[in-house]
């Protein structure tokens, strides 16, 4: 629509500067030292919603980081869209690998580099600017509600309670989330699923103190060696996961659906080159897209123990630790898999060590149909601005709250993500292409325009 284009073009620079300002707040939910930054960031989101034209926006305290709720009620009888996003970000380390400060956003080669630029500040903020576009051009056709939380990256531990006790406030016809990626800007796609998550931490304790590795070496179980053996035992030679019962509830995908999936554009050579690896690695019998889409996985996210500084120290350490997470697919249960993981690491501990295994957080897998009104509106909106119908794909990531959202509010979720897999989410040098940011702001108003016709 020309009126949207005109409005957005004349405010391009401000749309960007507002996002950069948000990116300067180090809202790392996992780190307690950022508690005040979380409060500051929630306040900024509230403020921006009001400025964009929301009737109201409020910050709700939780047992953890606050939730921001905002709404623009255009006509109580019109369809309502609930936009979900998160203002919290992943920790930025390893800091030394960033080319510019994670919380000092810079534009290089047409990309915004900053922690949270894509995941998810840049993506949820497209919705704030879409709201502004619709309000300021007087073209609203839906009511729009926002729930922007501060704990997505730590598993949304307090959002369920908020959602369950605010179902009236959050009542909507569809939930719209931009926190996923497209295959590419030439191959627009819409995610139809996110994987679930089980995340645990394991601590292996050997002797009651660090020991001289010469005096005691060879006589005492070394917790690093034992932990390495435990980790090595989690996959077999085909890279199947060996945790007892891990695959019990996995929904096997039909040959037909796998055939359909295989049609999505994928270039193994380009994928390898982008990652700088000579060979891929994964579960035997499945393609790369299947490994990241329809199959559960078990990944080591961190490991540490003993001396990790400069030079050499001949120590046999008392402890070794690992952070381990599984991605889950329908119909696996995060609770059940977490319990199996914890039990496994405790069960296989040899007599010379003790093992403490604890849960970090989890989330259920979630799939959404491609015949829902929301999906249809998203597909039509993307076709309008990209000139191509989007390809439905299964994403590998997780958005912990999805399954609960659907259960508590009784509506389907649509994932309309504008990121790219190469955006370095959770990694140093996270980026979001300016093209994608503006393309999202351009596309979202069409979703609201088209939704009523499909409902």
């Amino acid at each position: 629509m020309q009126v949207w284009n005109d409005y957005q073009n004349s405010h391009r620079e401000r749309f960007l500067n507002e996002l950069l300002e948000l990116l300067r707040i180090p809202s790392v939910s996992a780190r307690s030292e950022h508690k005040d930054d979380m409060i500051k960031c929630a306040g900024a989101v509230q403020q921006r919603l009001i400025e964009a034209g929301a009737d109201k926006a409020e910050v709700y305290a939780t047992d953890g980081h606050p939730v921001v709720y905002g709404e623009k009620i255009f006509d109580p009888s019109a369809p309502t869209v609930l936009v979900y996003g998160h203002y919290d970000v992943q920790p930025a380390d390893p800091l030394e690998l960033w080319k510019s400060g994670p919380f000092e956003p810079v534009i290089r080669d047409g990309k915004i580099f900053a922690r949270g630029s894509c995941d998810d500040k840049g993506q949820f903020y497209m919705h704030v600017k879409a709201l502004e576009t619709l309000v300021k051009t007087n073209t609203l056709s839906t009511n729009i509600k926002f729930i922007i939380e501060g704990e997505e990256e730590i598993g949304s531990p307090n959002l369920a309670k908020f959602v369950e006790s605010h179902t009236d406030l959050l009542k909507a016809d569809v939930i719209l989330i931009s926190d996923t990626a497209m295959i590419s800007m030439d191959n627009p796609s819409v995610d139809i699923g996110v994987r679930g998550l089980s995340y645990i931490e394991v601590e292996v304790t050997g002797p009651n103190r660090d020991l001289h590795s010469g005096v005691y070496g060879g006589a005492v179980a070394n917790p690093i060696t034992i932990l390495a053996r435990m980790i090595a035992s989690c996959h077999d030679e085909n890279n199947h996961i060996t945790i007892p019962g891990f695959y019990d509830d996995v929904l096997e995908i039909s040959a037909e659906e796998r055939k359909l999936m295989a049609k999505a554009p994928y270039n193994e050579k380009a994928y390898e080159e982008d990652l700088g690896v000579k060979a891929l690695w994964g579960e035997k019998g499945y393609t790369t897209n299947e490994r990241t889409g329809i199959r559960p996985t078990l990944e080591l996210n961190g490991i540490w123990g003993g001396y990790t500084g400069e030079g050499a120290k001949t120590v046999l350490p008392a402890k070794a630790h690992a952070k381990i997470s599984a991605r889950l697919v329908p119909n696996q249960s995060s609770k059940i898999i977490t319990a199996k993981l914890l039990k496994y690491f405790k069960d296989i501990a040899p007599a010379g060590v003790t093992v403490k295994a604890e849960e970090h957080h989890g989330g259920e897998p979630y799939n959404t149909p491609i015949d829902s009104p929301g999906y249809k509106a998203a597909a039509k909106a993307i076709e309008t601005t990209f000139g191509k119908a989007p390809i439905p794909v299964r994403g590998g990531g997780s958005i912990p709250i999805c399954a609960l959202f659907e259960k508590a509010l009784g509506v389907k979720i649509v994932f309309m993500g504008f990121g790219l897999d190469s955006d370095n989410l959770h990694s140093p040098n996270e980026k979001f292409d300016l093209f994608n940011y503006y393309k999202g702001i351009e596309t979202i108003p069409y979703f609201h325009k088209f939704l009523p016709e499909f409902l």
Copy 2:
């Protein structure tokens, strides 16, 4: 000798305070930020040697940390003892496990707690105070030379060159080292061997950047998982080391000698209880004393990769690292074993990762006979002050320079250590019992007194 006792008793407090002052210098050789502390510590040692009565003491620069040489030539025709020790210490971390600052020595329960209290400042300083005793009571019967280096804990990379180019300066009839432990003060012992060392660091690189573990998890080799598999593959189910050719040159000990070794006091229950473990662990077919004395070992000294901070981060890291060291026995060669270790880790790398494996430092194993003049003098000295002949035992630790010393100077080494295995060498809360410190100072003059009669 009464004259020694009288002298030492009237200077007890000063003997302690001087050591404490030395312990306050954080002379960590592995860390480049302590370069100035190393120079300061070398200067302090030089100064103390002069004060104790050395004719001269000098600090020699090397390509690394300086070497201190000092001497008291009592009579050029008398036997000469070369005392070797080291003023450098291991890194102090993990700092949070220390009950008091590693470089703020305190006396608790009759023990000096500080990094280096036993290894080796406390032990080489006994020799400085023994020199003072002999000089001030005019009872010298040998010439005494000191070589106190600053790089023992990093494998003495520059000492060989110094020794080889100063063989005349260092000429002696016996080399005396206090850098080992006794079984207990009730069971005095003398080490007759130290193990050699090969120390390497391995870096496994997977993708060219940290990845989102959901988006890429299951499709790319995780360097932590691969490193864990590599480590797990280093021992078989009997805890034999599987590195090809690792045992090729191991000198098998005769059944007779093993029988003799088995007579050394050892209480498995007490050993386990001291370490706080429910079971020991080690190579099948060997006792604990054999595992730490006559068998080579492979220990993990450190491991790190991915996210190691508070909470959870769902990252598939680009890199994982490990520090790994082997203890060697006669007739293994540090050079050959290091090459085998490096090759092994490179050879077993699967296609999805690249492996960089580099040497830290090494040292050859060293054994010394029990019929040498030096051993006899040490045994008689210990019998005199402990009331019991010492038991010859094989130590598990390493003193990298030993083999080279014997080769370059053509004389045998005597290990007259006064530490205990429980002194927390290389660990938090390193300590040295005051009793042991003073017992060492009491015993060492007898070594000098008895040596001439055995030469």
